[in-house]
């Protein structure tokens, strides 16, 4: 079972991963975007760490809900509301249980990812974060965090040949082909951090 501390550590691990990958994410956002994805998420997850330390929410659901709200309040851009909604809706779906199972998290994440799709109007294949998120929750299947992480990673890589149909990259039309999507890349980091946290816990 996963408790609030697990979720706090997941968020911390994500923040650390984002810090390390910020320059690369911004670099990916340059040819097909506006060169800010790395600094956006870095600002957001730094704020998430701060607020989790300060408010120390006591349930898994509260951790993710607070983290999501914090992303919405600090990131901006497309990724702020989208990642914020992902965490917030996942957190809300977890309810106020003190501990949740891997299967419960998988179900809740599905709710979160669906909310991202509903909010942004994108579907897998559109060259967005959903190309990593959807395969990840598909692979998660009751709690296989390592499988989810590698599915997200593959999903991110598989965005390279796609033509973007949502977000800024879509403005480029065919010229968006041949570049990996920054948001899918950061989604893979989120699932890598989840797997890493689970690994460290077990």
């Amino acid at each position: 079972m996963l408790d609030a501390d697990f979720f706090r550590r997941w968020m911390t691990a994500t923040a650390v991963a984002v810090d390390g990958a910020a320059a690369r994410l911004t670099e990916l956002d340059s040819p097909i975007g506006d060169a800010d994805h790395g600094s956006n998420l870095q600002r957001g997850f730094t704020a998430v760490r701060t607020v989790l330390d300060k408010e120390a929410p006591g349930t898994p659901g509260a951790v993710l809900t607070l983290a999501g709200r914090q992303l919405i309040s600090t990131v901006g851009g497309a990724s702020g509301p989208l990642y914020g909604t992902l965490l917030r809706r996942t957190g809300k779906a977890l309810g106020d249980a003190a501990e949740v199972s891997g299967a419960e998290l998988a179900t809740a994440l599905r709710v979160g990812v669906d909310a991202v799709a509903a909010l942004g109007g994108a579907a897998p294949g559109d060259k967005t974060m959903l190309d990593a998120l959807v395969p990840a929750v598909d692979a998660l299947d009751g709690g296989d965090f390592a499988a989810a992480s590698s599915a997200a990673e593959h999903g991110a890589e598989a965005t390279t040949p796609l033509q973007a149909r949502k977000g800024r990259a879509s403005y480029l039309g065919e010229r968006s082909i041949g570049h990996q999507d920054p948001g899918a890349t950061s989604s893979a980091l989120l699932f890598a951090a989840l797997a890493e946290t689970a690994e460290a816990t077990s």
Partner: protein
């Protein structure tokens, strides 16, 4: 870059704006720029915002006759809902607030969230989306046309209507009419450098140009060998007129992307006017300058907005902001 560190670029700019413009209220911490006299009793308040790096848009358009408040995000990053809610609460006199939103996924999502939250607080909110950029096809396969130069027309004309005391419904309708009557096309002669990246966002050798760019340092739809000012004017005006069939005089905005000298912009305007004359499009008013920019990008955009007598009257109405001022 003339900065301290990338992280403080926006707050540094707000501090500098506060110092230069005592006629504005600049809330540096919460990142909101307000008319000093807000809320203005009985008047609809216009709130806009977006990523920074497009100055004078939007902060430079706050003041009597235009915006009541602007919310600057990080560079090229839409602001967060908290800023917009705070702005709306500060400027609402009870007559309602109009959000003017450029059509980018980030801006749309954040303003949508803000509108919900503001309505929860009892503020009447209407929204207008600006999407004038003809370089992007408005189809299922894109995020839709971008909002660019027409934003200035929407903010100025709807701002004048609000200043006159027109209702939220009316101001919203006017803003919508302006957007629907306006189209833009932009060209880059260089990329721009964001503070976060510190180097050009894409590689554009001298002697080449990008056609159909937006205002966020993205490359355009197509790269070509350098063209003359006259050829660029033809390309841009024709692209706009393909989408807009003016049956009345137009307002013309010949807008610099940031690093193109005014000397060149005026020369470009001469060519734009020539092409418009050749195409039989009468021009009611022309504005030339750096108004909707993309940091230090070289290049220009052309926005045309068809106007009736009412819109023209509102365009000519007094305005007093840092970036646009006449009649008072």
């Amino acid at each position: 870059m003339l900065i301290n560190v990338a992280e403080t670029v926006v707050t540094d700019a707000l501090r500098g704006m506060a110092a230069a413009h005592p006629e504005l209220t600049v809330d540096v911490e919460n990142r909101v720029i307000l008319r000093r006299d807000a809320p203005v009793a009985g008047k609809v308040a216009l709130v806009s915002g977006g990523g920074s790096g497009h100055e004078p848009l939007h902060g430079g358009f706050v003041g009597p006759g235009m915006l009541a408040a602007a919310c600057p995000g990080e560079v090229f990053t839409s602001p967060v809902p908290d800023q917009m809610v705070r702005a709306a609460a500060a400027v609402d006199s009870g007559a309602g607030v109009l959000f003017i939103v450029k059509n980018y996924t980030g801006d749309v999502l954040n303003f949508d969230m803000a509108a919900e939250l503001a309505e929860d607080e009892g503020i009447q909110v209407a929204k207008v989306l600006v999407n004038d950029d003809v370089a992007v096809t408005d189809s299922l396969y894109t995020a839709g046309r971008r909002g660019t130069g027409a934003t200035l027309f929407v903010e100025k004309i709807a701002g004048a209507a609000a200043e006159e005391g027109q209702s939220l419904e009316r101001v919203e309708a006017i803003a919508r009419q302006v957007n629907e009557s306006a189209r833009s096309f932009g060209v880059a002669l260089s990329a721009c450098s964001t503070p976060a990246k510190g180097s050009p966002t894409f590689d554009l050798p001298p002697g080449e140009l990008e056609l159909g760019i937006g205002i966020h340092g993205e490359p355009g739809r197509e790269r070509r060998a350098m063209m003359t000012s006259g050829e660029i004017a033809e390309f841009a005006v024709n692209a706009v007129l393909e989408d807009l069939n003016p049956t009345a005089p137009v307002l013309a905005l010949v807008n610099g992307m940031g690093a193109t000298p005014l000397l060149e912009l005026y020369g470009f305007n001469a060519e734009v006017q020539r092409v418009l004359a050749e195409r039989g499009v009468p021009v009611a008013r022309t504005l030339v300058g750096n108004y909707v920019t993309s940091l230090d990008m070289a290049g220009a955009s052309v926005t045309l907005c068809q106007v009736d007598e009412e819109l023209l009257r509102l365009w000519d109405a007094p305005v007093s902001t840092a970036g646009l001022r006449w009649g008072m």
